[in-house]
């Protein structure tokens, strides 16, 4: 684990794996809630890092963080949401072929995984969900679509995600959900906040 000072009010903590990043994120939230970190405006997890922004003495905090012992994340840690999905995406056949399963079995593969929101980015409320076993990691599409419909369940590499609104995108679209993953007028606005666990359930199944 490395802790790098960023500017005058932030620390970027870097680890080796996505699982370590998830564990570190949980540890930062625990210590922040316990009041051990002083003021922290933003805690931003990402692929292999957690950024603590808006802190008082980043040099001292970085030195303290490198001495932390971070326990691995318990599987059941974090709230669980269940999201209904219709497996009707335009890339369903391609993904099934890649996985060497029948189209109708894609739902079973996805449904057997408890995903975890590793981080958000790209757009407000767009969560990068980890948990799909490596043999099921599909590449991005060679040509991104100019418009992906809101509610599309999509896969790319180690991540799954649901597009919160219509936008361009290069991920493989396997299904659609009516769940509103992002509503800025709702509290909480984001269905997929970092640390949330997500299960996709076939709609009407």
């Amino acid at each position: 684990m490395r802790a790098l000072v960023v500017g005058v009010e932030a620390v970027l903590v870097e680890v080796g794996t996505a699982a370590e990043a998830a564990a570190l994120h949980a540890e930062v939230l625990r210590r922040r809630a316990a009041g051990e970190l002083g003021p922290v405006r933003d805690v931003v997890p990402a692929a292999r890092t957690v950024l603590l922004d808006g802190v008082r003495d980043p040099g001292a905090l970085a030195a303290r963080i490198t001495a932390w012992r971070v326990p691995p994340l318990a599987e059941e840690e974090g709230p669980l949401v269940t999201v209904p999905v219709r497996y009707d995406g335009p890339d369903l056949a391609d993904v099934a072929r890649l996985w060497r399963v029948a189209e109708r079995d894609v739902a079973e593969v996805v449904g057997s995984v408890v995903f975890r929101v590793a981080f958000c980015g790209f757009a407000p409320g767009f969560g990068y969900l980890t948990g799909l076993p490596e043999r099921f990691h599909p590449p991005r599409r060679a040509t991104p679509r100019t418009a992906v419909p809101a509610g599309s369940l999509a896969l790319a590499g180690e991540y799954a995600g649901v597009y919160p609104r219509s936008s361009p995108g290069g991920w493989q679209l396997i299904g659609t959900t009516d769940a509103v993953v992002w509503d800025p007028l709702r509290e909480p606005a984001a269905l997929f906040a970092p640390g949330t666990r997500v299960r996709f359930e076939e709609a009407g199944a």
Binding site: V6, V8, D42, A46, A47, T49, L51, G54, C120, P124
Partner: protein, 299 residues
């Protein structure tokens, strides 16, 4: 009209090149993918509200280069009180020149014209009571990266005015406002990814000026015509959290300084960070073509 306090409003007659509502933005929500947003020139924004006795987080209009034209509305005999700060520019009420950087009364029915900036880029038009548009996630800022916040004002848009702030309207204290710079000097603190660049290209970074690119916007100040930073390594950086003032270096090697609407995560290495404050406020006022010099701070 809801939330108009004294029943006052401003109607947009000419929105200008790019006019947005701005306040202090949405800090604290980066983990949900929500940019910080907020007024780019934080000092000019704060001054405009101070002049009018507003709450320090009252919403104002941020204009870009060519100002905005508004018409005051309200009961007969009423007036809205406004103040214009940021990029210096001519201000007129019903065609008559009035003070820039001071509280100005605009009677109901009269036109307020905020003219083209004489120098600098961004003007701030505050109104006593603040603009009472609907907040989104605790802020009235329009975030041009993610589209959060109030829509861009268009001709005919009615902007309601909120109840007056806690303090009285004050006299001018604008003498201390720095003029928009002829050269933009940005102190740069190292890291977190300075080690991704060759020592030779890092020393070139300090030696030669860049210019502000016309591609600059509220998301970032782009540079051009300076030395290109060369990487020591190939491969991609996994996306990581980005701070305000981060200087990201895309594959073309030309630094981009992240401003208020910057993405919360990014996959290009950050060579250093410009601390928030005076330098970033000046960056908000630097026109395309302005020379940009990075100076080492703490390397």
């Amino acid at each position: 009209m809801t939330g108009t306090g004294g029943g006052l409003w401003l109607e947009v007659l000419r929105p200008g090149a790019l006019t947005t509502l701005q306040d202090r933005g949405r800090p604290g929500r980066a983990h949900l993918g929500v940019p910080r947003s907020g007024a780019l020139d934080a000092e000019a924004y704060a001054l405009a509200n101070r002049l009018l006795g507003n709450r320090p987080d009252a919403a104002v209009l941020e204009t870009t280069l060519d100002g905005v034209t508004l018409r005051a509305g309200g009961p007969p005999g009423s007036a809205v009180v406004v103040a214009v700060t940021g990029a210096p520019c001519p201000v007129r009420v019903s065609g008559r020149p009035v003070a820039w950087g001071e509280p100005v009364r605009v009677p109901a029915g009269a036109e307020l014209d905020v003219g083209r900036a004489e120098s600098g880029v961004r003007g701030y038009v505050a109104v006593r009571g603040g603009f009472a548009v609907q907040p989104v996630l605790g802020s009235r800022s329009t975030d041009l990266l993610s589209g959060l916040g109030p829509p861009l004002p268009a001709p005919g848009t009615l902007l309601p005015v909120g109840p007056p702030g806690p303090d009285p309207v004050r006299g001018a204290d604008t003498l201390r406002v720095p003029a928009p710079p002829a050269e933009l000097v940005l102190p740069l603190r190292p890291g977190p990814r300075a080690d991704w660049f060759t020592p030779a290209s890092l020393s070139a970074l300090w030696r030669s000026p860049y210019r502000v690119s016309p591609e600059s916007n509220r998301i970032g100040l782009r540079t051009e015509a300076g030395p290109r930073l060369t990487r020591t390594r190939g491969g991609e950086l996994p996306s990581e959290g980005m701070v305000l003032g981060a200087v990201q270096v895309p594959p073309d090697g030309l630094p981009v300084v992240f401003l208020a609407d910057h993405p919360v995560t990014g996959g290009y290495p950050v060579v250093g960070v410009v601390p928030p404050g005076r330098a970033l406020n000046a960056a908000a006022q630097a026109r395309p073509g302005t020379p940009v010099r990075f100076v080492a701070a703490g390397w």
